[in-house]
C-alpha cells in the first residue's frame, strides 16, 4: 500500500511539474517579445485646404505646390487649392485634443495607441457645436510622416480638405 501511495505521489508530482513548466514555457515567448514600449505621444500636423473650381486651368497655392496628390483623383475634381490653415499639436495617448476648423466645426482627435514601428493609432471626430455630427468616429493607423486626408465639407463654394500627418 505504501508503495502504491508513493508511486501515485510521484506521478502526480511529475504531472504537476510538467504542467507548470509547460505553462511557464508558454508564457516565456510573450515576455521576450515585449520590449521597451515606444513613447506614448505624437505630433500631428493639420493642414486645411480649400478646394474650388475656378474658370480656366485653376491654381495651387505655392505653399502646397509640393503635393502632387492634389492633381490626382479625387482631388483633381477641383482645379484650385488654397491653404487656409496649418497647425501642429502634440497628442498624448488617451487625451483628446481639439481644433476648431474654419467653418466652426470642432475636430477632436485622440492618440489611442502607439504600436511598434512606430505606428500611430488615432481616433477622430468632427462635430458642429449645437448641430449634427459630420464624422462620429474615424479610426486610422498611420506610420510617421505619411499624410491622410479627410475631405468633403462644403465651404464657400468649394470643399475643405484636411490633411493629417503624424510624426
Amino acid at each position: 500500500m505504501k508503495t502504491r501511495r508513493a508511486f501515485a505521489r510521484a506521478v502526480l508530482g511529475g504531472v504537476a511539474t510538467l504542467a507548470f513548466s509547460a505553462f511557464a514555457q508558454a508564457q516565456q515567448p510573450m515576455t521576450l517579445q515585449q520590449g521597451a514600449p515606444p513613447p506614448q505621444q505624437a505630433t500631428i500636423d493639420i493642414l486645411v485646404l480649400h478646394a474650388t473650381n475656378q474658370p480656366g486651368p485653376g491654381s495651387i497655392a505655392p505653399s502646397i505646390a509640393n503635393m502632387p496628390q492634389l492633381k490626382r483623383p479625387p482631388f483633381s475634381a477641383y482645379n484650385t487649392y488654397t491653404q487656409l490653415a496649418r497647425q501642429s499639436m502634440t497628442l498624448v495617448k488617451g487625451t483628446p485634443a481639439s481644433y476648431t476648423l474654419i467653418n466652426g466645426r470642432i475636430l477632436q482627435i485622440t492618440l489611442t495607441n502607439v504600436l511598434p514601428g512606430p505606428r500611430y493609432e488615432i481616433s477622430a471626430a468632427i462635430n458642429q457645436p449645437g448641430g449634427g455630427p459630420y464624422i462620429n468616429l474615424l479610426r486610422v493607423t498611420s506610420p510617421p510622416n505619411d499624410t491622410f486626408f479627410v475631405a468633403g465639407q462644403q465651404y464657400q463654394g468649394g470643399v475643405l480638405v484636411i490633411g493629417f500627418t503624424l510624426h
Binding site: 508511486f7 504531472v15 510538467l18 510573450m30 493607423t141 505619411d146 499624410t147 491622410f148 486626408f149
Partner: protein
C-alpha cells in the same frame, strides 16, 4: 406403556414443538392426563436439553477457516501485485497524457494570442482602406452621410533644372460630403 403408536408420535411431536391447533391442544391434554404420556414427554425434553447443552452451535465460526483456505498463495500475490502496478502505470500514463494535452492547449492558446497581437501590430486586421506599402490604414468610419474612401498612389516628381526627384508616398482620402454626395 399404555400409549398407542399414534399417541407416542404426537408426544414426540409436542416435545419437538411441531404441533399446532387442535393437535397441540389434544396432545397437551393427553400429557396432562396420562402418566405414561407425561413421563415420555419429560424424557424427551430431558434428552433434548442434554443434546442442546452438549455444544454451543452459535460459537462455531467457520469464516476464518474459509478465508484461510482461500488466501492467495505466493503466485497469486505476485499476479495481484503485477496487476496493481499495471493499473497504476495506466493511470500514470493517462495523467501524463492529460498534462501533455493541457500543455499543448496552453501553448496553442498563447500562440493564437501572439498571432492576433502580431496581426494587430502589423496592421493585418480588417481595414476599410490602406495605402500599403506606406501603411496608412483607415480602420473605421462612422458618419451620418455616405462616405467614400480613395487610394492615392505614390508618385515621383522631378523638379528644378537639376532634375531633383521627390517621391510622395501613397495616401488615403476619406471623403464625407455634407450634401450626401459620396463622390467629389
Amino acid at each position: 406403556m399404555s400409549l398407542s403408536e399414534a399417541q407416542m408420535m404426537d408426544v414426540m411431536s409436542l416435545a419437538d414443538g411441531e404441533l399446532e391447533g387442535d393437535d397441540l391442544d389434544r396432545t397437551k391434554k393427553l400429557v396432562e392426563d396420562n402418566a405414561d404420556a407425561k413421563e415420555l414427554f419429560a424424557s424427551l425434553r430431558a434428552i433434548g436439553d442434554g443434546v442442546r447443552g452438549s455444544f454451543d452451535v452459535p460459537k462455531i465460526d467457520v469464516r476464518d477457516a474459509v478465508m484461510r483456505s482461500i488466501t492467495p498463495n505466493d503466485l497469486d500475490k505476485a499476479r495481484i501485485k503485477r496487476t496493481a502496478r499495471t493499473r497504476m502505470a495506466v493511470v500514470g500514463v493517462s495523467l501524463v497524457a492529460i498534462a501533455a494535452a493541457v500543455m499543448f492547449y496552453v501553448r496553442d492558446q498563447q500562440q493564437q494570442q501572439q498571432a492576433q497581437n502580431a496581426a494587430k501590430d502589423s496592421g493585418a486586421q480588417a481595414v476599410l482602406a490602406s495605402s500599403l506599402p506606406t501603411g496608412v490604414e483607415v480602420d473605421f468610419v462612422d458618419t451620418p452621410t455616405p462616405v467614400s474612401l480613395f487610394y492615392v498612389p505614390a508618385e515621383k516628381t522631378t523638379s528644378g533644372a537639376e532634375g531633383k526627384t521627390t517621391e510622395t508616398p501613397a495616401s488615403v482620402v476619406v471623403w464625407v460630403d455634407d450634401n450626401g454626395d459620396p463622390t467629389p
